[in-house]
Subunit: 414 residues, 2 copies
């Protein structure tokens, strides 16, 4: 089936999905979850073929781990759909309905976006997660996963569609692009008139390609070069705990800390403690000259280190002479994801919150909290680092838009 | 100056603008308004040169009228800036600040987008209007108007910048791209890293070019193929008044009615009345076969008429057998702008509001109300027909985004 036909089907189905009540949508999610579990053996078989082929092609072990499914992971996908069913449905709420002087009653009604495209790589769990969030928010979704996971994705989508059908719901609520060529991705990026938004999930390279080649609206999700700035008045123990957590609690994620700024007035006392704490996890610290002189064992940083998202046990470190310098550095090298200050100074805390340009700005907390579940959204489809439409973790609400509904009794414009 | 340098300046200045309070921003708007009035003669001289050159090149009279300034229009531009000063500043509000179970206090703070690009054609008043809205919402703006208005725009921007400087504010809050070649427009569309959003204002062709060629986020503003659907139970007088208003009150605007759907059960009685009413303004009615048989004087419509935005005294007309057929027709041929039903039936009114996919959906009112001032926003920078970020009239609030601000006391992620 070609992409235009898939787009037309998705658009047709989105009209139906937009009108469904929460009861029907939840029934669909539960039915899909049941079918995923019932189809576990066929999904695992398909996944086994994907994994074998990937290993044969020499895929990196970390990526193979993300690709590989087991019984527990399939159960987690199914439970994820049930968790989404428990979330409040944002669709249909009317905000700020007001009467205008001429008697027109104008309100903002929350409605689904319509048709959402997701482009991702070799993580089959994204298939079920993305379907769940899109479906609950009343959207049709077109999924285009990577070629490495195509057999797994086909088995997962087939199970979800069987569930929808059994629940009396349109199975085209979720469609998978079977053709995993570059051409199909490019075509999806230009499916104007059918796709209301395209969300890339995956590596920085994938996201860049989508941003540069799409003519449909895109929500850019996030690479994170996240900083922790240790202010002159910081509580050392708190700073060490936050840095240790933000850097090492999970290294491969976009809200992990990649770069540290330390006020020069505390560097001599603080940096040896930092080294000691991060040595527990053998974190390599790439530091500016002044810091390297203070602490043996720091590795000299190059200019490009300030802009790196390591996703590894590596941290860049720079001393700054002032809060201004810290903010300027972050606004220059950061990716607009998550930024934190550790301080006991009221004014500095407020200025950092005000002047740092990022989706999430923290005082005295770990950057690792930028996450839909941690923010109380229940689940998320990604973390937006752009400023249009959605910024930060995107939950169900960010997969909706508004339309103005206007009740009149014959008003015409004078 | 090249566009990257302009972008860098705008980005620098946007940090300052984002922190300004309402008092300072209003002082800047008043100072700019004063300078516009003080510079009236030099603006008119520059505009005269633009108009002469345009006439010599054979520009259409309607376009020349949009290009031409006079004392009244300059005063209107200045007053427009003062009106924007009177609007409430959306920046800085913190929404839904909530405490999480771990004690983190998380709120959504409204902040400027940063740097906004506006691409437009030969309407010099857009120059002052766009500056006013962008400035009041704390954004730096890069303006790229058409070559036909370049002298006028340069004079207007120079006056505004003098005003900002006199008020002690950064004049780079507004910059005009002096190079009006196609290349400069293309470069602006790809100014990623500097522009947070690009808003095209003008013809359908301009908007299409921007959507197709931009790599920066775009807000698509609106062509409007707006429908009025006259339901079987409609009050005829109300329907005639609404259609007459929506079609003829102002023909060159995006919220004018371009197409009419009439329930077949009332066609025989209603259509002759319609013809009589629209004859007052010599509106040409391009109708389907069934309607042409009923009323002499209707012109046979071709298939392409259903998708046309005439912006003229022309209206397409089609009979439909049901509300479903009306909704399907609108969702197929509409541009997602403004759609209206005239009815006395509760269920049909609610279904129309629910199922029509457009920025503004009306019951028993003219489509001409889709407008920032009419909606109570005070002013607008355009009407969005896309679903991301902003839909419908875009006021000050739509030129902002949010960032999450998080107050902690040492929280780390378990």
């Amino acid at each position: 089936m070609d992409l235009r036909e898939m787009g037309a089907r998705a658009k047709d189905v989105s009209r139906i999905l937009g009108k469904l009540g929460q009861t029907e949508k939840n029934a669909g999610l539960f039915a899909a979850a049941g079918e995923l579990e019932a189809a576990a053996s066929s999904i695992l078989e398909a996944n086994g073929q994907d994994v074998d082929a990937a290993v044969k092609r020499g895929m990196h072990a970390g990526l193979v781990d993300r690709l590989r499914l087991d019984g527990g992971r399939i159960k987690a996908m199914a439970d994820g759909l049930r968790d989404v069913a428990a979330l409040e449905d944002p669709v249909g709420e009317v905000e700020s309905m007001k009467k205008r002087p001429n008697g027109l009653l104008i309100g903002r009604k929350r409605v689904p976006l319509g048709v959402i495209g997701i482009i991702y790589e070799a993580r089959p769990n994204v298939t079920a997660d993305a379907f769940g969030l899109c479906f609950k928010s009343g959207n049709a979704v077109i999924l285009r996963g990577g070629s490495d996971a195509i057999r797994s994705n086909e088995a997962i989508v087939a199970a979800i569609r069987r569930g929808l059908l059994a629940a009396g719901l349109p199975e085209d609520a979720v469609q998978l692009v079977a053709d995993t060529s570059r051409e199909s991705a490019r075509e999806l990026m230009r499916l104007n008139g059918y796709l209301d938004v395209l969300i890339p999930r995956g590596s920085a390279g994938l996201i860049r390609t989508v941003v540069e080649n799409s003519t449909v609206p895109v929500i850019e999700t996030g690479t994170g070069n996240c900083h922790v700035y240790v202010d002159a008045t910081a509580d050392f123990q708190m700073a060490l705990d936050i840095i240790y957590n933000a850097k090492t609690q999970r290294i491969g994620v976009c809200n992990a800390c990649e770069s540290l700024l330390v006020h020069q007035s505390i560097a001599e006392k603080f940096l040896p403690l930092l080294k000691e704490r991060l040595d527990e996890k053998q974190v390599e610290i790439r530091a500016d000259e002044a810091s390297c002189r203070l602490v043996p064992g720091f590795v000299p940083a190059a200019e490009e280190d300030w802009g790196r998202e390591y996703l590894d046990y590596i941290l860049s470190l720079k001393q700054v002479g002032s809060l201004d310098e810290a903010i300027a550095h972050i606004n220059r090298y950061g990716t607009g994801h998550s930024e934190a200050i550790v301080t006991r100074d009221y004014g500095n805390a407020q200025r950092f919150l005000e002047e740092v340009d990022a989706a999430a700005v923290y005082v005295n907390a770990s950057t690792r909290f930028t996450d839909g579940a941690q923010f109380g959204f229940g689940a998320e489809i990604g973390i937006s680092t752009q400023k249009l439409h959605a910024r930060g973790p995107m939950g169900l609400r960010e997969l909706t838009t508004i339309k103005y509904i206007i009740y009149g009794d014959g008003q015409v414009r004078p």
